[in-house]
């Protein structure tokens, strides 16, 4: 009987995705993010690209891949705004890196962990955007409303859970 030995959790549960999924899912998130607020203005509170960034980062459990995925999604998101290109890119790069690093250490497939990491990463994203705008860009008029950010994090966490379960079906176990 053959015996298997795993040196780390990363080797135990590392997932990959088909190229079509890896390309189309982030693109769909960005397109939906641009389309939905037009008929439903209140949906601008969602951040679908960040949900996708976190999902791919924690699923791949590869900090480099998470960083690059976050940077690509964030830069594409910036290009559609009137902000300088790189604001969301930097924030999502950091989040992708941290999410992938956490995914190596913690089991992120349980519901509780997913709720927790989504909520924390949305707050972290708001904090990073505040730092970049306030410190790097020098926008002194940029304020952050923490109550609003807490609500945003809660709503996005609620939206992220079904999306995570949907995207779980696209995983390709290696």
């Amino acid at each position: 009987m053959a015996t298997h030995s795993y040196t780390s959790r990363r080797e135990l549960e590392q997932h990959s995705f088909p190229p079509a999924v890896a390309l189309l899912v982030p693109l769909s998130a960005i397109v939906l993010q641009a389309l939905l607020p037009r008929p439903f203005p209140r949906l601008v509170i969602l951040d679908l690209p960040l949900i996708v960034t976190v999902f791919f980062a924690v699923s791949r459990r590869n900090p480099v891949a998470g960083t690059l995925t976050g940077a690509a999604i964030g830069l594409l998101q910036d290009a559609l705004t009137n902000q300088p290109i790189g604001v969301n890119g930097m924030a999502k790069s950091v989040i992708g890196y941290i999410a992938a690093s956490i995914g190596i250490q913690v089991d992120v497939d349980t519901l509780t962990t997913r709720v927790l990491i989504n909520f924390v990463f949305f707050l972290l994203n708001s904090f990073l955007l505040f730092l970049i705008n306030r410190r790097l860009l020098g926008l002194t008029s940029f304020h952050i409303q923490w109550v609003h950010e807490l609500i945003r994090a809660a709503i996005n966490t609620a939206v992220a859970l079904p999306i995570f379960f949907l995207l779980d079906n696209t995983k390709r176990r290696e």
Binding site: L35, R38, P39, V44, T67, L80, P84, L139
Partner: protein, 439 residues
Amino acid sequence: MESFFTRFKNVLVLVAILLAQTIGLAIQVRRPVESGAPDGGKVTLIRYWAVSIVTPFERFFHGIGSTVRGGWSNYIDLRHTRQQNHDLQQQIARLRIEQAALAEDAIQGHRLQSLLDFQQHYVATTVAAQVIGTSGNDLSRVIYIDKGEADHLKTDMAVITPDGIVGKLRDVFPHTAQVLLINDQTSGAGVLLASTRIRAILRGSTTGRILINNLTPDARIKPGEQVLTSGGDQVYPRGLPVGTIDSIATDPDHQPYTLIQLHPAANLNQLEEVLVITGTQSDLPVQAKKDLAAGAATAEAQAAQKQLADQQAAEAAARSAAQIVADRLPSLHDLDQPGASATPATPGAAAAAPGGVVPHPLPTIHPDRYTQGTTPPAADLKPGAAEDKSSGSIPQSTAPPPATPEPAVPKIKKPQPPKDTEPPSTTQNPNPGTDKPNQ
């Protein structure tokens, strides 16, 4: 060395990516940035690539949505359309009357502006565009429209709706364009308070509110006042509606100034179609001139109609007054034929006269010297006769006064009862001066 890069590969990749983006940010914000100004060439190119990737999907989904929505609203959901059409017709009629009322003032104002060589910019040409997408970020309030350079759009062109201004074109691509909304934090516009004529600068905010924060406290500025574009920013033509003042408060960050919050005239959250102003002119557009001429013609027609109606009403009133006077004048009654005068010629004449038939006076019960027909003619009067109360009679005369004055003949006539009255059945007052009947 190799082991160092292998060991810290993840962190080094993160640092490299962050460093690259930081340098990119520094390059972008190094140039003098005006609020809402377009990007540099390289950044525009990156944005163009991104927009080229995303826009086809947006057009596709927008087309599907428009088709479904159009099919539903144009072929299925036609309830109340007839009533709506009727209401709109009534609204058009009302607006035509209002247009006629304002046309003369507008023509006069335009003539005076021409005399004073006043440079006014009127909207001459516009391009209608549909909104196909947004930035998807609540920190960046921009929208994308389905028209671009191919439709002769350029940066800094004003974007409006019939309700008010929306924003301006920030980036223009071949077949699409990015519109910076007026409630974006980098947006601004020169505005004019409609009633107080105070000029101010409007700015957006991170929360999407539209603010004026360069005015000192002024008691004349009240909530509800309309705000218009001033034309001073060289983007928005003068006189376009911006919104109304929502609230006025002290600005905590800039203490001497007030923080005036506006409610935008256009619904910036749900924009479907917008108009891009592609050209202005100092003269009134042809269509506006036609509208003004039509309004002036309507006003003249209304004035003529009113004059005619007034004239007819005056004539009717004159006729009516003459009829009333004719019916009420006592001279028209023949005293000799009381029955004939009391009876109208036609049965409906009495009812037709507003005052009815003047009743014949009843016989006097206690005639005195003031009773009609009891006053003797002047020729019959004798000086001092009135003071002769010994006879206890009432002087009376039935003869009309002579046409030519004759010398007065002292003559005392016996008192006679009036011709058309019965003699009083009661005893006459022996003392007429007391005018008190005996009991």
